[in-house]
Amino acid sequence: MTRRRKLVGALILLAAFQSLILLAGFFAPYDFASQNRERPFAPPTALHFVDARGHFHFRPFIYDLEDAKRSGEGSSAGSGPSYPVHFFVRGAPYKIAGVFASCIHLFGVEASGRIFLMGSDAYGRDQFSRFLFGGQISMLAGLIAAILSVSIGIVVGGIAGYYGGWLDELLMRGGELFLALPWLYLLFAVRAALPLHISQWEVFLLLVSVMGLIGWTRPARLIRGVVLSAKQRNFVAAARGFGASDAYLLRRHVLPQTYGVLLTQLTLLIPQYVLAEVTLTFLGLGVGEPMPSWGALLSSLQQYYVLSSYWWMFLPALFLLPLFLAFYTAADALQELHKRVAL
């Protein structure tokens, strides 16, 4: 039963993450694009419960360190103006799932102060808000593209492995050809053929289709291997002897053997695709400023000055870790569960 508990835990974590991302507008205190040019690379704002005189407050409050720095009062906590954190406040307007408009945010402080739970970036934009909004494109695009890759992989790998012969040759050599294509230049050509400005939806479709279509060969090869060995198993031969059709054999006996490979491929591809988006953005095919994406948040870490001076830029990466771990755990548990059912 612990495996089942693991699965439930992972699924709850995933669901929590997904709803945070879906309701980003509500949970994020600010609009992802709003710049605070006086506060580039501000460290995370600390939440306080005890004030300078030692009184305890149930409502957390923050100190505006930047403001204190500007007026020359030093930057230690306890100086500068303090702002209590309010809940269900009115702020920047947003839309949930592109449909429901609202301007109520879960928390916030008075407009003259700023609350940056994960610090701010080079333009003084709230990292926490950007992290949540960034997931909307990155998570979904990564997930759908990975599913697309794996589905093409099942079809191609399944057919190639099961039927073998010239069909196998054709599909696998075709896959190799696909791998050998100079993708970089093809993507340049794709970019040149597209209009200069690509809308958000088009970006999303592009990300999904480019990543999904480029990445199918590896799962296809793995699945072909599994299918190849599965079809020679005795129970498959027996079923065939009883007159089972190819479609029935594939569905009932052969493809179920590939679930393990499928799930591991899926869990490996999703984080890979989140990062692949950075490359596509470099080629002008990805998410452009000021839209945030996880790939962009992570890629800023590749710069030495960020790495060495602003530790809070690591926070998005830190929060992604449990997410990807949850994916992996879920896949792992599902695979185990499936095995048990199959036996």
Partner: protein
């Protein structure tokens, strides 16, 4: 690409118009060698090695064909020119030519060469080498990137040998910055290259696989070893022709090692750890990182202030009739209105760019001449502070209005939306675009930032004209306006907003053409300055390019490197490498 850079890489510098140039003290060394004495700098001691990182592997060691900066950095150490621009003083100084005179009409230059000099392989140098070199540079089949500069008034410079140590250069028209043309034109050894050239194999000569004994130059160092993918090692040229003011032979260093370190961050880390001795071309953010450990790590950093790079936003003002880009052509009605461009300029937070993009290590700009270019800057150009109020008034006067939701619409009710192209490999320019995007949002404009891979972007700017606005930067190779001819002439290839025009499209471009042509043939500095001031005024008023900022030149060197005197001209740090020594 080469075209975009060719003007910027070469070129000559601010004007020194004394007709009788006083030659630096010539001193005769052994065997009648007319050595040059370098007056500036401390007396160093001989020996030691310097390690420097190059951003990438050089493409060639052939001075005639080199375009990329790493190749040129290596070649600069190996070769010498006839007249040189001293990076410290920004003035011309004698180099292989010990003196020169100019005819009264400004069309003839007679150069006296130093006698008794030898190439780094020991072979003597004389006028035949100069004649041969210019023959190669001017050969159309070789297509040297430097050739354009040696074509004056539509005709190539004629080079005539007067005697073994005198050469006459004839120009088709007077040319204000003629002396500066010689800077960077490396003299080739005829004895090594003539046969290859006559045999038609020059384009392959002196590539990276050249054996060191087949390579010779007149520079302070000579080629010792080339290890592909790793480093090039240079050794002291024993035949070098400069000496310090105590009479010691230069260069001081025994060896220079140029490592290939492919990224800026990797270069910064290697400099920080003491692997390399000199660092240039790095960002303000990395400057701040290095600064923290300055005192404990045994290096020092210099902020030289604004260099010659200017970054700007510009709109597509090309004639799109034949290109068939109706959507962009429609938007050009806005772009072509100077009031629209002024409104955009007024709304841009240049101080914000300086602070957020360059961590304060840059200077805001309102025209193309940077404060670093002290000889040519027009101090009277106004520097209006950012004002959204003024921007709104300008837009209103140009027939724009705002909807109830606050978005800007033109007289036909079309909402103002456009995209800004930037190069995705240049983080700074993408950042500038993101800031401008936010600035213009406050005027009700919807701006998209479109970062593209550099070559894809240049293709749109120069060939397809399929763009609306773009952010670019240019780095003059020289402070003299002559190096900017290609940018400001309406027929120029780097006249970015509307290149290669048959005849100027607007009255102010026509004025600019005249002023630029005039300054080119005017010999008097004050008069030239007046003409170029007028060009700057036209730019500031009509804003074909909306200038944004000029980044500071940042350099660093290990404390043990003596005579380190960085300059705002390329190469920022190693221009006086013959004088550098290690303590």
């Amino acid at each position: 690409m080469g075209k975009l850079y060719s003007w910027a890489e070469c070129a000559a510098l601010a004007a020194v118009f004394a007709l009788g140039v006083s030659p630096a003290l010539a001193q005769t060394g052994q065997a009648g060698e007319e050595r040059m004495t370098v007056e500036a700098g401390a007396i160093g001691h001989a020996g030691g090695r310097l390690v420097v990182a190059l951003r990438s592997e050089p493409k060639t060691l052939n001075p005639v064909l080199a375009v990329d900066e790493p190749s040129r950095d290596v070649i600069r150490c190996l070769t010498a020119d006839l007249i040189h621009i001293n990076r410290g003083s920004l003035k011309t100084e004698p180099s292989l030519a010990k003196s020169w005179s100019v005819s009264a009409d400004g069309k003839q230059y007679i150069l006296q060469l130093r006698r008794g000099l030898r190439f780094s392989d020991g072979e003597p140098f004389n006028a035949d080498d100069v004649i041969f070199s210019f023959q190669v540079y001017l050969d159309e089949k070789i297509d040297s990137p430097q050739r354009d500069l040696l074509v004056v008034g539509g005709k190539p410079i004629t080079v005539v040998k007067v005697d073994a140590y005198t050469v006459r250069f004839e120009l088709a028209q007077p040319y204000a910055a003629a002396e500066r043309l010689f800077d960077g034109v490396a003299i080739l050894p005829r004895h090594l290259l003539e046969n290859t050239y006559r045999g038609g194999g020059f384009s392959q000569a002196w590539n990276l696989s050249v054996p060191p004994n087949q390579f010779a130059g007149l520079g302070p160092f000579r080629l010792k070893e080339y290890i592909p993918g790793q480093r090039v090692v240079l050794e002291r040229n024993p035949y070098y022709w400069k000496a310090d003011h105590a009479g010691n032979e230069l260069p001081y260093l025994n060896e220079v090692i140029l490592l290939f370190v492919p990224s800026e961050d990797a270069q910064v880390i290697r400099f920080q750890s003491g692997d390399t001795d000199v660092l240039s071309r790095f960002s303000a953010e990395n400057f701040a990182v290095l600064q923290k450990q300055q005192s404990v790590k045994g290096y020092h950093l210099d902020d030289l202030g604004s260099g010659l790079e200017y970054n700007f936003l510009f709109f597509n003002l090309n004639d799109l009739g034949p290109k068939g880009l109706p959507d962009i052509a429609k938007k050009q009605a806005w772009f072509q209105d100077a009031r629209f461009r002024r409104a955009v300029s007024a709304a841009i937070d240049r101080d914000g760019i300086v602070r957020l993009v360059y961590a304060g290590r840059a200077t805001p700009l309102w025209d193309q001449v940077t404060p670093g270019n002290k000889l040519w800057i027009d101090e009277n150009i106004p520097h209006p502070a950012r004002s959204l109020e003024r921007a709104r008034q300008l837009l209103e006067s140009a027939g724009f209005s705002w909807t109830s939701a606050g978005s800007l619409v033109d007289a036909h009710g079309t909402s103002v939306e456009f995209s800004i192209l930037t190069s995705s490999s240049n983080a700074q320019r993408t950042k500038m675009a993101t800031i401008i995007q936010d600035d213009l949002k406050q005027l009700g404009m919807t701006v998209q930032v479109v970062p593209l891979e550099f070559h894809a972007m240049v293709d749109r700017l120069q060939n397809s004209y399929d763009y609306e606005a773009a952010i670019m930067g240019l780095v003059s190779g020289d402070a003299d306006p002559t190096s900017e001819m290609n940018v400001w002439l309406s027929s120029g290839e780097t006249h970015l907003w509307h290149p290669n025009q048959d005849k100027p499209a607007t009255p102010w471009e026509s004025d600019m053409d005249q002023l630029m042509q005039q300054q080119l043939v005017t010999l008097d500095y004050a008069k030239r300055k007046h003409l170029y001031d007028r060009v700057q005024e036209i730019v500031a008023e009509n804003l074909p390019v909306i200038c944004l900022v000029s980044p500071d030149i940042l350099v660093g060197a290990a404390n043990r490197v003596g005579n380190f005197r960085p300059a705002i001209l390329v190469p920022y740090a190693l221009w006086n490498i013959e004088q550098l020594y290690v303590q």
